[in-house]
């Protein structure tokens, strides 16, 4: 399996400006589109890299499927599936440089995977075995934000720090269409635009905020919601991994060059439930699902690879086997994950000693120990 990023050919902003249509580089039936200027930004992506992107998509979908199964079998408390959003996540994550930083919501398992997070550790939060799964400083990605819309402000502040440091890194933050109604997201737009900091707002518009359709959140397209703040918006086919890669590269390049924030709306679809606790059949028409099934992000890249002789049955089989192996490791790792110890409840509330906490911890542990003494 590969976790090597697609090579990023420097951060250059192309000459052209003013493209305001939907960015799509691979059509729904797997053809390369003609005339979209964003092709400039992915001119370096060769056959090997396309195959790597496809591999990422397949592995990420397989991780998601295994996690869903683990939840249904009672091994996870909850899971927020990414089914249908693989291209939006892989395409954007593969545009990152190692010194960039990501602030995700709770559905960005594919982004975390691309940044080298161990999939087993991603499950810790969802299993209830801990509250986080990785060191943000090591992987360049913060712990997932469960409070909807809280993290774009953190990204904006981090980006302000990048500016104060005089660095040319960029910050990428993910949120959904529902989050764009949150005040914190509006405040993040305002702060980011006023300070001109290097942050990219990446909205996966998956059409649904649990049961609420996107038209309830916004009277305009999500991409247009940045305009009042002076933040340029771009709408990209979120099921087209190349288009997402191109749009994210451009936005990150603008950020790095000091040109300020960009709002990317990746138009995609949540093919599954909001979480394992949700039941979309209560609010969503089957016809909608069928319409989007045709636009499947994996199928379209696969079609392109096969059409152009970059993939054959042996490749497909190899990728599927690799994904199955990742899933098997994930399952074994999940089942072997230990429950927290009682003392863990009290750990890390504060960075410095705290007498009340110390007292409560000692009291509870001696209470537990008293049972041992009785027996």
């Amino acid at each position: 399996m590969t976790t090597a990023p697609v090579r990023v050919p420097g951060r250059k902003i192309p000459e052209w400006t003013g493209f305001d249509g939907l960015v799509q580089l691979i059509s729904v039936d797997g053809q390369r589109t003609v005339g979209c200027p964003y092709w400039d930004l992915v001119a370096d992506v060769d056959g090997d890299q396309l195959r790597d992107l496809y591999r990422d998509l397949v592995v990420v979908r397989r991780i998601d499927a295994e996690a869903m199964a683990l939840q249904r079998q009672g091994e996870l408390a909850l899971w927020a599936p990414l089914l249908g959003q693989e291209a939006a996540q892989v395409g954007s994550a593969r545009a990152l440089r190692p010194d960039d930083f990501v602030f995700p919501s709770y559905r960005e398992h594919g982004v975390a995977y691309c940044l080298g997070v161990d999939p087993v550790q991603m499950l810790r939060l969802w299993r209830g075995a801990g509250l986080s799964g990785w060191d943000p400083a090591v992987h360049g990605i913060a712990t997932p934000a469960i409070v909807v819309g809280s993290q774009p402000l953190h990204a904006t502040g981090y980006a302000l720090g990048v500016t104060l440091d005089g660095a040319d890194s960029a910050v990428l933050t993910y949120f959904g269409d529902g989050a764009t109604s949150e005040g914190d997201v509006a405040e993040a737009f305002g702060f980011a635009a006023s300070y001109g900091v290097p942050v990219v707002f990446f909205c996966q518009n998956n059409q649904w905020a649990i049961s609420e359709p996107v038209r309830l959140q916004s009277h305009t397209s999500i991409a247009q919601r940045g305009q009042g703040y002076g933040i340029p918006g771009v709408q990209v086919d979120g099921n087209d991994v190349l288009a997402v890669l191109a749009a994210t590269r451009l936005a990150l390049a603008r950020a790095s060059a000091g040109e300020g924030p960009t709002l990317i709306e990746a138009v995609t679809y949540r093919m599954g439930p909001h979480t394992t606790s949700d039941d979309p059949s209560r609010y969503r028409a089957r016809a909608d699902d069928e319409e989007w099934r045709v636009k499947d992000p994996l199928a379209r890249l696969s079609a392109l690879l096969h059409r152009e002789g970059l993939a054959d049955d042996a490749f497909d089989h190899e990728v599927a086997s690799e994904a199955d192996a990742v899933a098997a490791t994930l399952r074994a790792g999940c089942l072997a994950m230990p429950d927290p110890e009682p003392a863990d409840v009290f750990a890390h509330v504060y960075a410095e000693p705290h007498p009340l906490l110390q007292e409560e911890k000692e009291g509870y542990l001696s209470y537990l120990a008293s049972f041992d003494e009785e027996s």
């Binding site: 509250l131 502040g157 980006a159 914190d184 305002g190 702060f191 890390h348 960075a351 705290h354």
Partner: protein, 336 residues
């Protein structure tokens, strides 16, 4: 040694912290050229520049949320919330993010954010400008909550709060901003030819006995410390000896100092401006009853605001405890 107001002492403490650590940045509304509505940051943008003293858009959640990101980038942001009653839009960022990120990241992320909040009444202000919201934050695990009552503590405690790796909500008693006191500086040590050092620095979480007495203890904090001292002076004239404790830290609370005092006096009155119901006094009364039950000669009494919103300013003297209301509760302790 210099004599200065609490506001000026905080200003000097902030300046000192910024000189000491280049990662300390100030953020807030009107804190730059204006120097804050109470002038606590006066002159700091002029001397440190607008990249370290940052005027923000008018969005309290935005101030705190961006401070979280700055902290994750290695900075020590000091946020000013303009008035107590304007902190609520930032409540989610403070409670769900600032307070919990260290825990949620299992110790891998620290959030050394200081949130400065002018609080309390007594200045004749319009509504939303006189509140005492400290109990909300003391109730929240992961935060430290402190308040200085005088200039010397203001100077020291703001530096300690900024240096802490934990987030600190720093309540500044606004009606005491203009009251003067002696402030000791580290420079005093260098210039002291007798080699006599100033008193050892009191840790941030520690209470202080500000007046020694024997008949009853008054526990107070922020603006109420001066009121409690007034009460003690009046009581002394009437032959009653009151011990006054300045809690200084509201989370954690230094119960050891309280217990020592109550074991001696046998009586405790807790005074604060905040509403008595579910206020800090409730927690203190419960703990002291648990720990000092056999030393108590009377139930712990509380004196504070009523279970009302903060009233119109021309009626605030009825809401705010004064020395007489404190002494009324002391009397009920002495003659239960």
């Amino acid at each position: 040694m210099a004599t200065m107001s609490l506001g000026k002492a905080l200003n000097s403490g902030l300046r000192r912290a910024m000189e000491h650590d280049p990662k300390v940045v100030l953020m807030g509304e009107d804190i730059g050229k204006l120097g804050g509505v109470f002038r606590v940051t006066e002159g700091l943008q002029r001397d440190f520049g607008d990249r370290r003293v940052i005027d923000t858009p008018l969005a309290e959640s935005g101030v705190i949320g961006t401070a979280v990101g700055l902290a994750m980038r290695g900075y020590r942001p000091v946020c000013e919330i303009q008035f107590d009653g304007f902190i609520y839009p930032a409540f989610d960022q403070i409670v769900s993010q600032v307070a919990k990120l260290h825990y949620r990241n299992e110790g891998r992320v620290t959030v050394p954010v200081t949130i400065r909040v002018p609080f309390g009444g007594g200045v004749g202000a319009v509504e939303h400008h006189s509140e005492s919201p400290e109990a909300y934050f003391a109730h929240t695990a992961g935060l430290r909550v402190v308040t200085p009552s005088n200039a010397a503590d203001g100077y020291r405690m703001i530096q300690q709060a900024i240096a802490s790796d934990d987030p600190v909500v720093f309540f500044e008693p606004k009606r005491r901003y203009w009251e003067k006191g002696d402030v000791e500086d580290e420079d005093d040590v260098d210039g002291d030819i007798d080699g006599e050092r100033p008193p050892a620095e009191v840790p941030l979480g520690q209470a202080r006995v500000v007046r020694v007495g024997s008949d009853a203890t008054i526990a107070a904090y922020g603006s109420m410390v001066a009121t409690a001292l007034d009460a003690a002076r009046i009581a002394e004239e009437e032959g009653t000896s009151l011990e006054v404790i300045d809690l200084r830290s509201l989370s954690p609370i230094d119960f050891a100092t309280l217990e020592t005092s109550v074991q001696k006096t046998g009586r405790l009155v807790v005074a604060h401006e905040a509403s008595v119901f579910c206020g800090l006094g409730a927690e203190i009364a419960a703990r002291i009853s648990e720990r000092c039950f056999f030393h108590l000669e009377a139930p712990v009494r509380r004196v504070g605001g009523f279970a009302t919103p903060y009233p119109a300013s021309r009626a605030e003297q009825h809401f705010l405890p004064d020395a007489d209301r404190i002494l009324h509760e002391v009397d009920r302790c002495l003659q239960p």
